[in-house]
């Protein structure tokens, strides 16, 4: 098998390829970076005034929008992974002495980096719109860590979905639940204000604890241990599930 250094080199070549794809596909750039910003403008300036949240609305919404910025960029990853598998290019790589996982890690790293850029843009525009954080340096490091972990975990899950999908269209559709879930969480309004049923769903779905943890970190220390533990558990769970699913599907389709 190939040595770690060649695997790393191959992954870097694939990463460069995936970056080029992103830059050449305006839809990807729009979905991943501009759309979350448009959402933020809408929620903060249009709907936000009608919602009852503790503190200013922009402070409340930014953590949720950070998570949305991550999930919104996933669709293009699923479709481009599927594209790689259904078009001949994957067979070319597979008949070459190229590290097998490089194609997948290229996608995962490119998606993670894209998510981080989108999150950076959201935070930047958020500050311009009056977002203020009372978090310490340590809180911020924690928040950055959680963002990276979530982006990494959802990337693997998305790569797996892209691999498992039968067509490019269904690959794009497969990520819709990941994109919709934040809406049904405490991203834009507190779960406690929701109707029974939806409320329970919001409380127990993965994104609420993740968003609450981010919110706690960015606002400077109202962290609930159970949320933090759940948030980390969900992220690690997504990453492990995504990785195992992706690797086994990749082998099957190989």
């Amino acid at each position: 098998m190939s040595t770690p250094s060649t695997a790393l080199g191959d992954s870097a070549i694939m990463l460069r390829r995936n970056f080029r794809h992103t830059v050449r596909n305006p839809v990807t750039v729009f979905n991943a970076i501009l759309f979350p910003i448009v959402m933020m403008l809408m929620f903060v300036y249009v709907f936000g005034g009608a919602f009852k949240v503790p503190g200013s609305y922009v402070d409340y919404a930014v953590p949720g929008l950070i998570v949305m910025a991550i999930t919104y960029g996933l669709g293009p990853t699923a479709t481009s992974v599927n594209d790689d598998m259904t078009k001949g290019i994957i067979n070319r790589f597979k008949t070459m002495d190229v590290s097998r996982g490089a194609v997948l890690t290229g996608h995962v790293v490119a998606t993670t980096v894209r998510s981080v850029i989108a999150v950076g843009a959201i935070i930047g525009v958020g500050f311009a719109m009056g977002f203020r954080s009372h978090g310490s340096l340590l809180d911020w490091l924690g928040a950055i860590g959680l963002v990276l972990l979530l982006a990494f975990a959802t990337s693997w899950l998305t790569v797996a979905m892209g691999l498992a999908a039968k067509s490019v269209e269904s690959a794009g559709l497969a990520t819709v639940p990941l994109i919709m879930l934040p809406f049904l969480s405490s991203a834009f309004v507190p779960a406690s204000t929701m109707k029974t049923g939806v409320k329970q769903f919001a409380e127990y779905q993965p994104f609420t604890p993740i968003i609450e943890t981010l919110r706690g970190l960015l606002s400077g220390g109202h962290l609930t241990t159970s949320h933090t533990v759940q948030a980390l558990a969900w992220c690690v769970g997504f990453a492990v599930l995504g990785y195992l699913w992706a690797v086994s599907t990749f082998k099957k389709r190989a």
């Binding site: 080029r20 078009k87 001949g88 290019i89 070319r92 008949t95 070459m96």
Partner: protein, 333 residues
Amino acid sequence: MENTAIAVTGLRKTYGDKVVLDGIGFEVASGSVFSMLGPNGAGKTTTVNVLTTLMKPDAGAIRVAGFDVATQTKQVRSAIGVTGQFAAVDELLTGRENLRMMADLKRIRSAGQLVSGLLERFELSEAADKQASTYSGGMRRKLDLAMTLVGSPQIIFLDEPTTGLDPRSRRTMWEIVRELVAEGTTIFLTTQYLDEADQLAGQIAVLDGGRVVAHGTPEELKRQIPGTHVRLRFATLAELDSAARVLPSGTRDESELTLRVPGDGTSRALRALLDRLDEHGLDSEEFSVHTPDLDDVFLALTGQPADGESAAQAAQSDQSNQSTHPATEATAS
């Protein structure tokens, strides 16, 4: 050992109940062109997939470039280049970037000259900095082959490289294959076209229903198939009968009112044939020269048409438009 590029014995592959390759075997000499000829579904692509490590065989011993495909996969991969049936290019990258990526993956340093050389050789210099998604089918094939050539692999697999290409691109492809062989590369080529195998290959294996039904040089194979013949169609049975008496070497088909007369298709032979008909005051309704094609090879080698579908189509088109399909006639008898 250096003389054999590919050695295959007892290769079997099944998908569920369907036997795709039923214990095939062959050898390919280094620096030669070996062509696997067969209709759709004969197992050509499966053979390529097994030889290029994309698929694991159910049984069989396969050595490529002296390495066992089952245990020395990495070495096999370093020795081969593959151009599949569907262009394996990255459509969002430009032609140049595609080639660059291949050079990077093969760890070729300062590949700039190699890349521009390939672009020039494949007449892609002008489109080099356009995305491959804007390329025509022929250009994509060329880029695909150029990518395969990066790093000069010892053995190149071409799976139906000219299917769907226009005649000019087809000839360009043939030229390139000839150049590669002249440089010492071994080529494994699959094709549905007898003339392509005839033009390029030193050895041909005819694959049908997962079996090698014939194996030999183009000359050896052609000796086994019906040669060029002239097909004459008459208005009445009486005319057909008298023509058959005049031309005893012919085979008559009463239902079609046709007579098939073997001949080499040269103008001299044709003139002699027509003169002979004229001498006896015979006139055919329709006259066509039939050159052997893949259907004839299959008919001769397996006693069955190349594939059921095309035979049915041939029968249909024979009814509707007899004059334009002289080549499909072989399936009728």
